[in-house]
């Protein structure tokens, strides 16, 4: 097409103004956008149980006796733990925990073998990332039994007289970030992601199809407005709506559920911005693909389920089979949940959220590009 008009901020503003007015007059949708977070907060007080295995763990091995190794083998055989690496210092272990690369750090103290054989009941410190209590509780509960079984194997036959008594190891669990294993601590930050996904995708999924169904699309297409202006104009007002939702949830988190906010709130809001933009881009892209509002709704429903099930919101992410984890990694909500939980419960910093941020940004760009390409410039 010749003389295609260049992108005009003025026209974009026109679109935004129009969308704002329409949003303000659509009372039902407005009520829904604010009602959903409150309703969800109240509904998700309870948690579904599960017993995930193969949780990544690191080990700090300070003992060089045979029984230290036995313990490690026993942990591996239990299938609860996958040892991703051995760390040299406590700080190193803690940093892995904070970044979410391991769920546990197991410290086997110096002279473990020696103390065990003397019957001194040596202590094994298990540091656990208890942000998600579900993910860690199974592993923690099984620890004493795992140790006992492993040691029994070592002291068979002629060595039987050396066999320590049951519970000869003092397992000290240090549940980090969420010491009381309160499920609200895990659920409430997660809820932010779920509520934003539901409302943002749903509202924008209707944006283009509504214009088509009301017959206003014909007029819009007859005017010299660019697809990118239409799409961005429809998205922008809802960024603000999304922030209001985040605000409601944070207030509820603080006053109703007493969830601490350890990290920098600004970081959380940056994460929220990128995430909101990604969900809006996804919604508007659905809208360009759907033939009518009903289809758009169905497409929105299609993302809700994986968003709730595969993101680590309801079920521990690491409890899922590999293929499901791969799918989960594609979803922006998976990364946003890590940001929200990380900032609120662990107090992670910018470098840590950066790793979760770029997959969301990539997702948003891909979605918006598809949307702009799919946007029909004619009525054909």
């Amino acid at each position: 097409m010749s003389a295609r008009p260049t992108f005009s901020p003025a026209r974009l503003r026109g679109m935004i103004v129009k969308e704002f007015i329409q949003m303000r007059r659509d009372r039902l949708t407005l009520a829904m956008t604010f009602g959903i977070p409150i309703m969800q907060l109240l509904l998700f007080g309870y948690v579904v149980n599960s017993d995930p295995r193969h949780l990544p763990a690191a080990v700090l091995m300070a003992d060089n006796g045979p029984q230290g190794r036995t313990l490690l083998e026993g942990l591996k055989n239990s299938t609860y733990f996958d040892f991703v690496r051995e760390v040299k210092t406590e700080a190193e272990g803690r940093s892995l925990l904070t970044r979410g690369q391991v769920q546990f750090v197991i410290n086997i103290p110096p002279n473990f073998t020696h103390d065990l054989l003397r019957g001194d009941r040596p202590a094994v410190l298990v540091e656990a990332d208890a942000t998600d209590p579900l993910a860690t509780s199974g592993g923690i509960a099984s620890l004493p039994a795992i140790f006992d079984t492993a040691l029994q194997e070592d002291f068979k036959g002629p060595l039987a007289y050396l066999a320590p008594a049951r519970r000869s190891i003092d397992v000290r669990v240090h549940a980090l970030y969420n010491p009381e294993a309160l499920s609200q601590y895990n659920i409430v930050p997660g809820l932010m992601g779920v509520v934003l996904t539901m409302t943002m995708v749903m509202i924008t999924a209707l944006a283009i199809t509504r214009e088509i169904e009301r017959g206003t699309m014909e007029n819009l297409l007859a005017m010299p407005v660019r697809p990118s202006e239409v799409l961005l104009g429809k998205i922008t007002p809802y960024v603000i709506v999304g922030y209001i939702q985040v605000g409601i949830i944070l207030l509820a988190a603080h006053y109703l559920f007493k969830v601490p906010i350890h990290g920098n709130l600004a970081l959380l809001l940056i994460g929220a911005f990128v995430f909101i933009a990604a969900t809006l881009a996804m919604g508007i892209t659905f809208s360009t693909m759907a033939k009518n509002q009903l289809q758009a709704m169905q497409m929105a429903m299609f993302v809700f389920l994986p968003s709730i099930l595969l993101s680590g919101y309801l079920f521990p992410f690491r409890g899922m089979p590999q293929w499901a984890q791969v799918l989960g990694e594609i979803l922006p909500i998976t990364h946003f949940l890590r940001i929200a939980r990380g900032v609120m419960l662990k107090g992670i910093g910018f470098q840590d959220i950066g790793r979760e941020l770029w997959p969301i940004v990539l997702f948003a760009i891909v979605m918006l590009t598809i949307g702009i390409k799919r946007y029909r410039r004619t009525l054909d």
Binding site: M1, S2, A3, R4, P5, S8, A10, R11, R13, G14, V17, K18, I21, Q22, R25, D26, R214, G215, T216, M217, E218, N219, L220, L221, A222, M223, P224, V225, T378, L379, D380
Partner: protein, 308 residues
Amino acid sequence: MPDELVIDVRGMTKRFGRRTVVNDIALQVRKGEIYGFLGPNGSGKTTFIRMLCGLLKADAGSGTCLGSDVITGSETIKRQVGYMTQRFSFYEDLSIAENLDFVARMYGLKDRRNAVERSIEGLGLKDRRDQLAGELSGGWKQRMALAACLIHEPRLLLLDEPTAGVDPKARRDFWDQIHDLAARGLTFLITTHYMDEAERCHRLAYISNGNLLVHGTVAEVIDRARLTTWSVTGRDLNDLSRRLRETPGVEQAVAFGTMLHVSGADERALEQAIAPFRMDDYEWKQVRSSLEDVFIHLMQTSKASSAE
């Protein structure tokens, strides 16, 4: 340039799947002209207009619209065309002023506020400026739509059945306004089903099943149809019209109040057909065919030929 052509296209064709909706249409519209576009529902009028303003891609065709290539220049054409859709297509949840403001922004008008105010005043919408468009009656909606189409000062207006569902007084006001604007150099392409409106156009085209059957001034269209029409008055015209319709040579017998119009394409066949009915009770008179007679004739013959 009094004879400057605003629309000059030929071979315009549009297919939806296997169905040809617009078939090889050529059209020339001069500057300042009010051009009527007539034809039954589904004949391809709307599709043709949509191709002109770039809302549909033509499958074939060439020519210019407002000096730009009709196929490749649609973005340039869009900015100089006002298109009033058949169905009200502004935002019903926006007020009149908000709708106009939105349109003004979309066209990037420099003096937006003034343009909107002028438009509201010019169309006598001042008292209703803050009323939601969805709450307006048909006549007011149509006025608002026209105001919105004019706000960016287009050179060509494409109006698709602009007066459907509008009362006669509003219709007359609307047409007066169109003639005013045309006198100032604006060009119009208007589709309509109303014969009185067709007669107020400078020139017309009749389109059926995607084919342009006839075009020209009202008089030219009537002459080219070569239709003979007799009018008859008398008692029990109902019975007479039923019997006439069964007679070969009579194409149509239509009641106009207390009068019956009897038409046929073949002058002599028609005379023979009505001969048995020329009795004292009836008063027969040969009259000039009206536009409506011609259009019904065109509609029937094109239907018959497409059915073959």
